[in-house]
């Protein structure tokens, strides 16, 4: 209905515009800025395929059909120009392509022309990403900006996305960049990322501040880079409407494959026999069997008893059931759809941008869904010749139907552990649960549990911009980021958590309010047209206030009443609030001499309430310089080099996220004991020296344009060093605690970044551009507490270690040496690295993998021919490993009843067999060690992925005019259609959400594969 209204509206507007009524011949000459004629320029009548190419003298001649008035001039190395024909002859002067160099970059409390920027800022345009069918805008940046590593933990939808700009710089603080939307920093909540609350159709640009010089203006929060998000604003002119919509389906990128029922029965019988033999001959036979045959008979009886138990009503001897539990974890062709409507326009005095969006995405996992509703209103009002007022306001609601953490049996993927001989449902149609299923079956969650999380975000600011004198502008902003989240869960008595309590429910509420005011003066002046000065001075104050409450209850009167109002007994509740303040002053001076020699000085001083009493304030300075060499006289003869700028920067920024709101003080909090006992217990040990982490970065690079800027590129080398890094320094237990937070460590990241944009072909009908970026980062832990050289993993499954001289989080564990061909035992390397042992506990420990990628990159090609468009983005991650911690259960040579991956079929069976899979044995009596983490489960996780493939058709304007549209675009788009990897698990882009932390990276543990989606979309403009 709304669309129809828009059509009508568009029709009215169009009928008002007048058209020409007769054909007309137009001639002219195309020259460059110096008056030299340009040959081979394509001249096209807009909205048609009628056109010609200029001759060697640069002239052209065309007959304009009735009603058409515009010509488009295009040629490689020159800016396209669209001209309304008002008279003939029509002579045109084309300017050289320096588009990307003249782009205005958002720098934080200001803007700067790309050409003059001396720091390192990557820009991604909103229009490049807005049709991507992903839930979170940070996902759209994957592969698009050099040195920006993006990873979705798994294919669960609407959950956290990890971003690392130039590597990991902190162990205890956040490594995520600071997001600033229209001047207001975004804050997170209980779950998901803040960015998932934002409709990315509203985004004009992402400016990613990467080096210290660019980021220093954000001081103590800039250590991981800053992503400035600018939303769309209205332009004066006719009001333009845009309606776009897409629908599609999603599937997992990969299914792993587990044993079939027949294989399961065969392998577990084999395991039973082997176990009996082992117990009798090697395990000491303490069960006292009279013979090996006796032991085997006992084991077979036992295992068949288990088969019978696991087969429910069906008969395993006839293999009546063959359940593919992996398939049951997924929705087939999960649906997604979204629709956005926006309007923008206004007068020179009042401009506005309005939008509304709705997105509904089913997860690929059963019972997983993400919805977003969003509204935006941006407005600018020019009050008089010196005062401008404005508003940015985004309202959003996200609704998530979440699934359990990866380590819970209620997580759908955990169903792969269940036996293929078990039917999903009993004969009454009820889902089976234990003891028929080996473990709790997540299918029971479908009808009997709820997991809903809602988030409301009100984000925006108002501003006043006053031109006080010529060149001096004062800008005052008052912003708010208000997040309200609720998380309501219910588990019925048939579920794992609800059993024994008559149903169990939990509800939590979280509110985060951040008020921020930015007040700054900006002064721009030119002296004798040689010196250009652009100075900014300002202050900022932020207050963050978090409130939290929860209540839980059990024993539900009726399980269809699932709110806590239905609980017979309230069993828990609490509320807390906490706050912090940040007081800041900042200054920046950009100086240009002859606009060839550029200098930029930045500094911010932050005072933060969370820090120790000795370190409340910190100052973060930076300096950068640039030299536009190509403007020097001696460079003028190098024709192929159209632009060259050298630049260097140095500075220090901070990270205050590692220190909690009140971490510096020794405190006692309340402890409950018994039915009424209220006690006190120490909750924090004192540390007056707690302070921000410092990240000092040196950066050297250059920017260039070749062949009339047909190829433009950038190169950066950086050396980033974290000092005063916060560490939980382990302490001996007799001290009363097992660790204390201290500013003691150091970490380094060194790397290079290369990005290239090339206009390969640019003719009238055919255009092809390539964007390429690649980055290498090498992380190294430089120092722990000085004496200590390593923090070794205490967890048996997750073996990330912190070792001085090595990258952060390397896997440190036992090295698997395969299988002893004589007896089928798994063997491991001793510490000498040569001899082997079959006793896991005696084996040596080694670095067996590194979760940090060496190289990341992306290459996109954009090809258009007439109205057709093809965009292809490949994205790759290279040189990292993933530790598949679930392997100890599902690739475990039948150690227990968990169904096994198909590679276990290659097991050792008889003396002399050469394989990596040990003899099948089921650990009934504890005679031998169950598989533990070792290099057996660590795999190369490099991958190349077809991240985005879009094929679009833009209707010719001759046609759109007939149907009274200004444009119409149809497209089909796919995400993750192809993944090339040697990782044998579900997906190499993985990090389980179980105990995830900065350190616990590169871990797979029943994590869902990524989402592969195909959508059809339509976008029309009125």
């Amino acid at each position: 209905m709304r669309i129809v209204t828009l059509f009508l509206l568009a029709g009215m507007l169009l009928s008002l515009s007048k058209g020409w009524s007769q054909t007309k011949t137009v001639t002219g000459k195309v020259t460059d800025g110096s008056g030299t004629p340009i040959a081979g320029v394509s001249v096209l009548i807009k909205g048609t395929s009628i056109g010609m190419v200029t001759g060697s003298d640069g002239t052209y001649s065309l007959i304009l059909p009735k009603g058409l008035t515009s010509l488009i001039f295009s040629s490689i190395g020159y800016e396209d120009q669209e001209v309304d024909v008002t008279s003939s002859p029509l002579n045109i002067s084309l300017s050289h392509t320096t588009k990307s160099l003249n782009e205005v970059i958002v720098t934080g409390y200001g803007t700067q022309v790309k050409r003059e920027v001396t720091s390192v800022i990557s820009r991604v345009k909103g229009s490049d990403v807005q049709n991507m069918p992903v839930a979170d805008l940070s996902q759209t940046l994957q592969g698009r900006a050099a040195g920006v590593f993006v990873e979705a933990r798994s294919g669960k939808i609407g959950e956290e996305i990890k971003i690392r700009i130039r590597g990991t710089s902190s162990i205890n603080g956040s490594n995520e960049p600071l997001y600033v939307v229209d001047g207001v920093p975004l804050v997170g909540g209980l779950y998901g990322t803040a960015t998932s609350d934002i409709n990315f159709d509203d985004i004009e640009s992402f400016d990613i501040l990467k080096d210290a010089s660019a980021a220093a203006i954000y001081g103590s929060r800039a250590a991981n880079g800053v992503i400035l998000i600018t939303t769309k604003r209205g332009k004066a002119g006719k009001t333009k409407f845009t309606v776009s919509s897409q629908y599609g389906i999603q599937n997992p990128t990969h299914k792993r494959g587990f044993l079939s029922a027949a294989e399961y029965i065969d392998l577990y019988r084999e395991a039973a026999t082997n176990t009996a033999k082992y117990h009798y001959n090697r395990g000491g036979n303490w069960m006292g069997f009279s013979s090996e045959a006796d032991a085997i008979a006992n084991m077979i009886r036992w295992i068949e008893g288990r088969f019978t138990r696991y087969s429910g009503y069906s008969d395993w001897r006839k293999v009546q059931t063959n359940t593919n539990w992996e398939d049951l974890a997924f929705n087939d062709n999960a649906r997604l759809g979204n629709i956005e409507i926006s309007a923008q326009g206004g007068t020179e005095k009042n401009k506005f941008y309005l939008s509304a969006g709705y997105s509904n995405q089913d997860g690929i996992l059963i019972a997983n869904n993400f919805k977003r509703y969003s509204l935006r209103f941006n407005m600018d009002n020019q009050v008089n010749n010196w005062l401008k007022l404005g508003l940015n306001m985004g309202l959003g609601k996200t609704v998530r139907q979440r699934v359990a953490d990866d380590n819970e049996f209620s997580s759908p993927i955990e169903m792969v552990a269940l036996a293929p001989i078990t039917p999903p449902r009993d004969q009454n149609g009820e889902y089976y649960t234990t003891p028929t299923t080996t473990y709790y079956s997540a299918l029971n969650e479908l009808d009997n549990a709820e997991n809903h999380a809602k988030s409301y975000r009100n984000q925006g600011n108002i501003y006043a911009e006053s031109r006080l004198t010529n060149g001096l502008i004062l800008r005052n902003e008052l912003g708010l980021d208000l997040v309200n989240q609720s998380d309501e869960r219910f588990w019925g008595s048939r579920t794992e958590w609800g059993a024994g309590t008559g149903g169990f429910a939990w509800a939590q509420w979280f509110r985060n309010t951040r008020w921020v005011t930015n007040n700054f003066l900006n002064y721009v002046t030119e002296i004798k047209s040689k010196h250009k000065i652009d100075a900014t001075l300002g202050m900022s104050f932020e207050n963050r206030y978090d409130e939290y409450a929860y209540v839980q209850g059990e024993n539900f009167a009726d399980e269809s009443i699932r709110t806590l109002a239905g609980a017979g007994k309230i069993t828990g509740g609490s509320s807390t609030h906490e706050e912090n303040n940040l007081v800041s002053y900042f200054a920046r001076v950009n100086y240009g001499f002859n606009m060839k020699y550029l200098l930029s000085l930045n500094a911010r001083m932050d005072g933060y309430s969370g820090l120790g009493s000795n370190y409340k304030y910190g100052t973060f300075p930076s300096v950068s310089a640039g030299w536009i060499m190509s403007d020097e006289n001696f460079m003028q003869n190098i024709k192929w080099l159209s632009f060259l700028k050298l630049r260097a920067s140095y500075g220090t920024v901070g990270n205050n996220t590692g220190v909690g709101f009140y971490d510096s003080k020794a405190q006692y909090g309340s402890v409950r004991y018994g039915s009424s006992g209220a006690g006190l217990g120490i909750t924090n040990f004192a540390n007056d020296d707690l302070r921000w982490e410092k990240v000092t970065t040196a950066d050297i690079g250059f920017e260039f344009g070749l062949l009339k800027n047909r190829i433009v590129g950038e190169f950066s080398w950086y050396n980033k060093k974290t000092t005063d890094m916060l560490l939980q320094v382990p302490t001996p237990s007799p001290s009363g605690t097992t660790s204390i937070l201290a500013n003691i460590g150091q970490m380094g990241n060194k790397g290079i970044e290369v990005s290239l944009t090339s206009t390969n072909i640019s003719t009238r009908d055919f255009k092809w551009t390539t964007n390429f970026n690649i980055a290498k980062n090498k992380n190294e832990v430089l120092k722990l507490d000085g004496e200590q050289k390593e923090i070794l993993p205490s967890n048996v499954r997750y073996t990330n270690a912190i070792i001085v001289g090595k990258p952060f989080g390397v896997f440190y564990s036992v090295k698997y040496a395969g299988v002893d061909p004589d007896n089928g035992d798994p063997i491991y390397y001793m510490q000498d690295g040569k001899t082997t042992t079959n006793v896991y506990g005696d084996a040596g420990k080694f670095i067996i993998g590194d979760p940090n990628p060496d190289w990341i990159g992306g290459i996109s090609n954009r090809i258009s021919w007439k109205g057709f468009e093809l965009n292809i983005l490949f994205q790759g991650v290279f040189g990292n490993q993933v530790s598949d911690a679930g392997g100890i259960f599902y690739s475990a040579n039948c150690d227990w009843f968990d169904n096994q991956t198909r590679d276990q079929l290659k097991r050792w069976q008889k003396k002399g067999d050469k394989t990596d899979v040990p003899e099948l044995r089921i650990n009934r009596w504890g005679d031998f060690e169950s598989p533990s983490m070792s290099s057996r489960y660590v795999y190369d996780a490099s991958y190349v992925r077809l991240k985005d493939l879009t094929f679009a058709y833009n209707l010719p304007s001759t046609l759109t005019k007939k149907i009274k549209l200004s444009n119409a675009r149809l497209y089909i788009s796919g995400v993750n259609l192809l993944t090339i990897t040697r990782y044998p698990g579900w997906d190499p882009e993985v990090n389980t959400d179980t105990n995830s932390s900065n350190l616990r990276q590169g871990l797979d543990f029943y994590a869902a594969p990524q989402i592969k989606s195909i959508v059809f979309g339509l976008s029309i403009g009125l």
């Binding site: 138990r309 069993t571 007081v583 309430s609 302490t731 605690t737 650990n923």
Partner: protein
Amino acid sequence: MKRVILYFFLVAVSGVISCDKKLDLKNPQSIDASDAFSTGDKLKKVLIGNYASLGSSSLFGGDVLWMSELMASNGELNWVGTFQEPRQIWSKLILTNNGYAASTYSQAYYVIYNSNNIIANINVVETSEQAEVAAEAKFLRAMAYFELIKYFGEKPYFAGNASSLKGVPLITSPGPAAPQDAYYLLPRASVEDVYQQIIADLKDAEVNLPATNDFYANKPSASLALARVYLQQEKFAEARDAANRCISVASTNGFSLVNNYADAFNNDVNTTEDLFAMQVTDQAGSNSCFTFFSTFTYGARNGDIEVTDVHYNKYNVSDARRGLFFSENGAWHCGKWRDIYKNVKVMRLAEAYLTRAECNVRLSTSIGDTPDNDVNKIRSRAGLPGLAGATLNQILNERELELAFEGQGLWDAKRLRQNIDGKTWDDNKLTFPIPLRERNINPSLEQNPGYN
């Protein structure tokens, strides 16, 4: 107008500058550490907090009970759960990074840390209450040290030469405020020294604790704890006398065996038989015995610890204690830990009768009562006929069945020199390794034999 705006801006900036106190915010959810020991009332709250610490799942909230039973399984218990770390304990193939071992070790020292602070600041308590409050702190400290020395001591005390056996680090007063201070890199004290500390604390507690004290430490529980310590030392006369003191104080202060055996378990309020139990409610406390022994039906994990027929068949068919087992998933499960949110039994009066009976028989005495009378109290409640002239073996058998799966399994098996799953009582693998994390920090901590 423009000037007004500029002035306004400057005033706003200077206004914020003057607000330095905005940078000094206090946590609404806690009090300063210095405040926690400022008055007697607050110190007593810290004492209550320390009971909760003792009741952590890593200590008497369950782990020290089921770990003892799992290690002493001897074919009577099977670990069938997926968790590998309990499996290591069950199969006696414990790795030095075993998380349960490390948590028990740390948690015990946390209890000790709190007790040390309470005892050191006891002056803020009214003089008349000081001895009693300190006695509670000492009781908790002794309980923690006793678990440490049993699990992590190089060999049991009764192995002999306790002065040359490596025990655990001994700390009995608060150290420097900074936990990373080298002061805390303590070497292992001898088994003898640790036992002396435990006995001194428990003797003090026995004298100064009240006969009854709600669900907090009381005189009879201190006596029974002392009896346990003496049993490990094989000082039977002292054990007998401590058990006897326990019974006489308990029975004159309202404690008695409950009538039905089953009623002694799955309680959320202490029974008359409970000398000391960790309190568990649906909002506080934890019971990991429930987690692992009970089943999905009752809201636990799915019967990770199964009881085998070998154990089940040890009971006479008419034994009420046999009736407490329940069958699920084709296996027996221990009914003592069946229900959710129930107290963890640490010391029941029944044990005192069995200890007194055992020691009296060993010493051919009848202090307190005859061994027959003591053991028959237990037997008759279980629905079994009385014994006449009960032998040591009969009493030990009764002890095993009465206290089955309540945490005494490993300690009784060891002191009675029983083989466990083919291993002799002094096998290295029947002792926990000193946790890897402690040795990573403190190189002066020597590892137990059999581990590296």
